[in-house]
């Protein structure tokens, strides 16, 4: 508690409040006001989350900054918030991206500006709620509420095929989460009427039920991650979404699914997680290798980065289900790094799209001649995406591979192919877009990045390099929680046979 403020509540509700204010500015006559107000809201929203880092006790594995208020007593639902080493970084990452996204849409978005800005602010608050919720129903409410602004962002400000993409995105994600709801209700009844996530962690569950619960959670989280084979909504959503929408999708929303595995699937159903880990690892490796190859074939830059995201997220789920500290910490670092890198790549593609109005790789060539500063930034992010040492992309991938070697050499071998594929598809795209002769008159007329764009890219570049060179501030904060999680997951939760009282006597 800094200044006696409940920081997590402020982190959730401040952006939402600003979102409502921005929406109230009404039509596009007030667009400048809406923009400024949104930026102020975004920056304030980030600043209020900083105490979460500075005030975080790295040695404690328990929940911190806890808030607990009775919400719906009829169902014992509480407004219960808290963060541990696993979730705290994502709240920071999310709040960090909100002002960047608002800046990225500063001039590009011309119609219904207030609604656009408001949607991002409201979403930012809701996503913070997802990461901070310690009550399953509260989590579920935030989880589903997240869909509404994203649905509108894709559908209103998206590309030509936006309606298809928006509806597909919504229904796909809703499908998974409804099964999760049933699992929550089941757990509520089993745990003696409680929706507390921590109570679920301690609840013994028979093997068969654990597997069903794991599958229900899997449906919800795998769609969000997205894992192979339920990944098909992502390329559509990314291609059609406006730049800001793509950034939030890639940098934040995908992380929500992976976070769900750590917070729900693994600790609530540890035995099922172990039992099904083979399947999870197989699906992850398919994502890493096969989707990596798919990315190689893309002609659309956004689609390429979208497939690259799926491939990188395969790395993350692989890291989770090899059940060792290297794997999980590596996966978490990979998630954060991927947030920075994919966010930056989408912003970069947005920069090009705003000028040429095409995302096709074939429409470009020789951009570096006309936009040298931008090219330098983009090449750096591309290097990070392919996992070059010294960039943030390397840290996570290296740790996951290290963890995978411990589990099984062949996992590691297959996972390591991502270093090759990743480099292949990213750098090949860079080569075709940035280098060579100037391809056409559109490229001839390109202007280099403006001050606003430069600031955004510079901030992200610093993050990518900083995290690559000195990852300790990121890894030390999650260390205790990850170890605690691994200890928890390694002990079985299948209830022992209850002996009749007579037999004991």
């Amino acid at each position: 508690m800094i200044f006696g403020l409940p920081i997590l509540s402020v982190a959730i509700w401040l952006p939402i409040l600003f979102g409502v204010l921005v929406m109230a500015t009404g039509n596009d006559r007030n667009a400048p006001l809406a923009r400024v107000l949104a930026l102020v809201g975004g920056i304030l929203g980030f600043l209020v989350t900083l105490p979460l880092y500075t005030g975080f006790d790295k040695l404690s594995s328990g929940m911190q900054f806890v808030e607990n208020v009775e919400w719906i007593p009829h169902f014992h639902i509480n407004y219960s918030l808290g963060v541990d080493g696993i979730s705290v970084l994502f709240i920071l990452l999310n709040s960090f991206f909100t002002p960047l996204v608002i800046l990225a849409g500063w001039q590009v978005i011309e119609k219904r500006v207030s609604q656009y800005m408001a949607a991002f602010l409201i979403m930012s608050g809701i996503v913070n709620g997802v990461f901070a919720a310690l009550d399953a129903m509260l989590f579920y409410v935030f989880w589903e509420a997240m869909l509404i602004p994203m649905f509108l962002i894709i559908g209103v400000w998206g590309g030509p095929n936006r309606v298809y993409a928006a509806v597909k995105f919504f229904l796909y994600t809703l499908l998974g989460s409804l099964l999760m709801l049933i699992a929550f209700i089941y757990l509520y009844n089993q745990s003696g009427n409680s929706f507390s996530i921590l109570a679920y962690h301690a609840l013994p569950i028979p093997r068969f039920e654990q597997i069903l619960i794991f599958i229900a959670f899997f449906m919800a989280f795998a769609v969000k991650v997205p894992m192979f084979p339920v990944h098909t909504w992502l390329p559509d959503a990314h291609v059609e979404a406006p730049t800001g929408g793509s950034v939030v999708l890639a940098a934040i929303m995908l992380k929500v699914g992976a976070y769900g595995f750590l917070r729900f699937s693994m600790p609530i159903a540890p035995d099922a997680s172990h039992e099904l880990s083979g399947v999870m690892i197989a699906l992850s490796l398919v994502a890493v290798v096969y989707i990596g190859l798919v990315a190689l074939m893309q002609a659309d830059m956004k689609k390429l980065v979208a497939y690259s995201s799926i491939s990188h997220m395969g790395f993350v789920t692989l890291g989770f289900f090899i059940f060792n500290a290297y794997g999980i910490e590596g996966a978490l670092l990979q998630m954060i790094s991927h947030g920075f890198v994919s966010g930056a790549l989408f912003l970069g593609i947005g920069v090009l799209y705003d000028r040429v109005h095409s995302r096709q790789i074939a429409d470009y060539g020789g951009v570096a001649h006309k936009m040298p500063v931008f090219a330098a930034f983009f090449v750096m992010f591309a290097m990070a995406n392919s996992g070059l040492p010294g960039t943030s992309g390397f840290v996570g991938e290296f740790l996951v591979i290290l963890g995978a070697v411990k589990a099984n050499f062949w996992y590691a071998f297959l996972a390591a192919t991502t270093l090759i594929f990743g480099a292949a598809y990213t750098l090949w795209m860079v080569k075709r877009v940035f280098f060579g002769a100037i391809a056409n008159e559109h490229v001839e007329q390109l202007q280099d990045v403006s001050m606003r764009e430069k600031v955004i890219l510079l901030i992200l570049a610093l993050c990518v390099l900083g995290m690559g060179l000195y990852p300790l501030p990121f890894s030390e904060i999650m260390h205790t929680s990850v170890n605690d999680l691994i200890n928890h997951v390694s002990s079985s939760k299948i209830p022992a046979m209850v002996m009749p009282a007579a037999a004991i006597n």
Binding site: W71, I72, H74, G155, F170
Partner: protein, 483 residues
């Protein structure tokens, strides 16, 4: 005097009957072109009714008129919700009906009589009074559907509604007569005792039960007795559909409680199996058929069938908590229906019916606020948090999972996923498409205020649903005569 003072649980009904007659005559005698006097009188009557019911509310069930009538917490709560619903209907529909020349004294008096019928249904504790209440309500509604005499579709809808309604009443009566034959009584409590005591011929009782369930399903519009619903919703004037789709559902809830739960609880295994089939079929056919509709009234008709299916899930869970969840569901459903049809009446104007899906195109550009309200209503119908519709579905699901019907819960959520598609389509039309006309939306201030309150209530009940859930659960618990 002494006798009169014992009648206090029925004061509201008596007052309403008197006022309906007074207003009928007053409307003829008082010169008022726009029916303002009648309208104000009706709204005042509803206000007094609310205060009466609130003032004389029961804590323990009180029986009247030789056990024909019962006043208990559930009936008081349902009546108060019905007053609010009817009052909202009148506010929403006033200008819609005025420009169509339908805002007549008859319309309002019929509305009051329909309300009286609902109140009798809600408070009936005897098969006879149940049936009388049902017929008072139904006959008023048939007449209201036919109010637009020169419209062929409205007349057709009225005929269908009347004939199938009469058939349903017949089935219901036939079932009741079977029960009478088996148990020798028509009193809810005595029937329950007879069935429980094993004096009744169980074959005969179950035979009667089948007819009663079929009759109920007709009235509720559950599959396979749902055929009339889309035609009536599409054909009748929107204002009347709003009336049919909202308050009578509350009365139907009470009807189901009194008939199936209070009088035939020992047969729960029989009727819950029947309801289970109807519930799943209703959700499946309602949600799937709604997808292909282009008329929003017809779409909402199929959506109502699907909602009734979900509501039946709550009933068939067979626990007091489940009945509470079903009541919560139906109250929220009534609120959402009022809002959705209210929106249609607001977008309609003279010579134009906003009953095609296309009339919602680009609403966000014409009026962002109305579009936002409709967005809330649609997401609530789809059951997406943080709206009230989510908690309605959640509380029902919680009960059926608790009673071990996990497979039905999974079927229910999968079918509501299909449902989400057509609600989303409305949102898509409003936000993603360009409007067909840029004509500004003119609406009376009071309807504009009401739709805002309605939409925000759906949101507010989605954020703080606890009190209403608890209230529904408590009144059901305090009222049902469960042995």
């Amino acid at each position: 005097m002494n006798y009169l003072s014992t009648l206090y649980p029925a004061y509201a009904e008596i007052f309403l009957l008197v006022m309906a007659c007074v207003i009928l005559i007053a409307d003829l005698l008082v010169e008022n072109q726009r029916k303002t006097v009648t309208y104000v009188l009706v709204q005042l009557t509803l206000l007094v009714l609310f205060l009466t019911t609130y003032h004389y509310h029961q804590t323990e069930p009180a029986h009247l008129f030789h056990n024909m009538f019962v006043g208990d917490q559930m009936s008081d709560a349902l009546k108060m919700f019905s007053y609010i619903a009817v009052s909202m209907v009148l506010v929403y529909t006033r200008s819609y009906m005025l420009v169509r020349g339908l805002f007549t004294g008859e319309f309002m008096v019929l509305t009051l009589f329909a309300l009286l019928g609902m109140m009798v249904m809600i408070s009936a504790s005897h098969f006879m009074s149940m049936y009388v209440g049902l017929e008072i309500m139904s006959l008023s509604l048939y007449a209201m559907v036919a109010l637009q005499r020169d419209s062929a579709t409205a007349t057709e809808a009225a005929m269908k509604y009347f004939i199938l309604g009469a058939l349903a009443s017949g089935l219901l009566l036939y079932g009741m007569s079977m029960l009478y034959g088996a148990t020798g009584t028509l009193e809810v409590k005595a029937v329950a005792d007879a069935i429980k005591g094993g004096v009744a011929n169980s074959n005969l009782v179950v035979f009667g039960l089948v007819f009663i369930v079929a009759g109920l399903a007709f009235k509720l519009g559950a599959v396979p007795f749902h055929m009339w619903v889309p035609d009536v919703y599409q054909g009748a004037p929107t204002a009347i559909v709003m009336m049919i789709g909202s308050a009578p559902k509350l009365a139907a809830f009470a009807f189901v409680m009194r008939l199936l739960v209070e009088s035939m609880q020992p047969l729960a295994a029989h009727w819950s199996a029947m309801l289970a089939i109807m519930a799943i079929l209703s959700m499946a056919i309602g949600n799937i058929s709604a997808i292909s509709q282009v008329n929003i009234k017809r779409m909402l008709a199929y959506s109502s069938i699907a909602h009734i299916g979900f509501f039946l899930l709550g009933v068939l869970s067979g626990t007091v908590e489940g009945y509470g969840a079903a009541m919560f569901y139906i109250v929220i459903y009534a609120l959402m229906t009022l809002g959705a049809f209210g929106m249609i009446t607001l977008l309609s104007h003279e010579g134009y019916e906003a009953d095609s899906l296309d009339s919602f195109k680009g609403l966000n550009q014409r009026s962002p606020w109305l579009a936002f309200m409709m967005l809330l209503l649609m997401f609530s119908m789809a059951g997406v948090p943080p709206t009230a519709g989510f908690y309605a579905k959640f509380s029902v699901l919680e009960q059926i999972v608790k009673t071990g019907h996990v497979e039905m819960a999974i079927a229910a959520v999968m079918l509501s996923l299909i449902g989400a598609f057509y609600y989303l389509r409305i949102v898509k039309l409003m936000y993603f498409d360009v409007p067909e006309s840029h004509e500004p939306i003119r609406m009376p201030a009071e309807s504009g205020l009401l739709i805002s309150l309605n939409g925000l209530a759906v949101l507010a009940l989605g954020i703080l649903p606890g009190w209403l859930m608890a209230a529904c659960s408590v009144v059901v618990q305090k009222s049902l005569l469960l042995q």
